[in-house]
Amino acid sequence: MINKISPSVEAALSGIHDGATVMIGGFGGAGQPAELIDGLIAQGAKDLVIVNNNAGNAEIGLAALLKTGRVRKIICSFPRQADSYVFDELYHSKKIELELVPQGNLAERIRAAGAGIGAFFTPTGFGTELAEGKETREINGRQYVLEHPIFADFALIKAETGDRWGNLTYRKTARNFGPIMATAAKCTIASVHEIAELGEIDPETVVTPGLFVKHIVKVPRTATGPAGFKTA
């Protein structure tokens, strides 16, 4: 019998090794799998490469992981935010490597990894310093930059409902990077707030088919908090 439901966060994350590349879902606070990140901090893997849109807010979640000093490099589009002081300090003291990627290229490079695409030409970034040194080509009169996939060993994502085959639904804009990261990692671990019986999730509404998911773990529902901007 297939059963991807893990008894605990600890069990779900036990395979994460030193030096792993770990994708972490979320755009600001929405979709950030806080319990899985806390679990990764407790688990202790180090020398990590993290892929996320941002570089953490305040001192919780991803920022707390960075603060442990176990992240060697971060691949993201928007590290600098009103409350990203943990990253800012690490970056200025050269304790973390940054690969800055335009947000759409980040998404498409992750998608390409999951979809078996060797590389792709995109117009985004052409002629800018973020395309320096990259192969370019004119196609049908337009200029493009060659971009390569981003693969991961693990993806930690936040979903809404899951079943024992690993099928997932998401909630509102918390979906963001979850579905594509699930496809690009060798091992995807999803937190869910509800576990459904097989067949209980309307098959027309499954967003991530279970084959992309290795483990799901149920965590208590807590309201997502504000992140990434200065509150008035």
Partner: protein, 220 residues
């Protein structure tokens, strides 16, 4: 600069209303973070305009009432928003496919500089110790059918942000077709900078004195 204080300007709300007036019924629009966000407040009520936000929502509605915020439903500025009936959610690769694939009609962005050829600089001032952050700026710049910029014509120290050649790091090349400023509206393209509107009380010659870019008077 006293001269700067005495010339007539449009307020930020008037600028937003000026942009909104040019957005057609039925258009799908992405409003960038900052000043462009104001455009949403000025869309004429007799037009149906669909707002897209690159974090994965289309059919975005206004900010929720105090106490009703749901931080799983946010915009690209990470502020809480609402969803209108007919709106929906999608993942990031789909969201940027909408943009890169040319499915959005208009994108309105802020800028540090825009060149007369439509080059855009809006993601970095190139300061050596600044932490670089690009987000969706480069995707937004080149994706929509039309990319508009909304900015004050001059910096706080009086330099023109409409330039012959951008000196800040580029976001996109030849991507901006129209610039809405606090004193005039410019169309950019092969014909150079065409002035299509000027704030009341400012002459064309007064406007030309504010920028080194050679302007053409194209007002009807």
């Amino acid at each position: 600069m006293s001269e700067q204080n005495t010339i007539p300007t449009w307020t930020r709300d008037q600028m937003a209303a000026r942009v909104a007036a040019d957005i057609a019924d039925g258009a799908v629009v992405n409003l960038g973070i900052g000043l462009p966000t104001k455009v949403a407040n000025h869309l004429p009520s007799d037009r149906e305009v669909i707002l897209h936000s690159e974090n994965g929502v289309i059919g975005m509605g206004p900010a929720p009432a105090k106490g009703e915020e749901d931080y799983d439903l946010i915009n690209a500025g990470k502020q809480p928003v609402t969803l209108l009936p007919g709106g929906c959610y999608f993942h990031h690769a789909d969201s940027f496919a909408m943009m890169r694939g040319g499915h959005l009609d208009v994108c309105v962005l802020g800028a540090f500089q825009v060149s007369v050829k439509g080059d855009l600089a809006n993601w970095s001032t190139g300061a050596p110790d600044a932490i670089p952050a690009v987000g969706g700026a480069m995707d937004l710049a080149i994706g929509a059918k039309k990319t508009y910029v909304m900015m004050e014509l001059r910096t706080k120290t009086g330099e023109s942000k409409l330039v012959d050649q951008c000196t800040y790091p580029l976001t996109g090349i030849g991507c901006v077709s129209r610039v809405y400023t606090d004193v005039a509206v410019f169309d950019l393209g092969a014909g150079g900078a065409q002035v299509i509107d000027i704030v009341e009380g400012l002459s064309f010659n007064d406007l030309q004195a504010l920028t080194p870019v050679k302007l053409t008077d194209a007002r009807n």
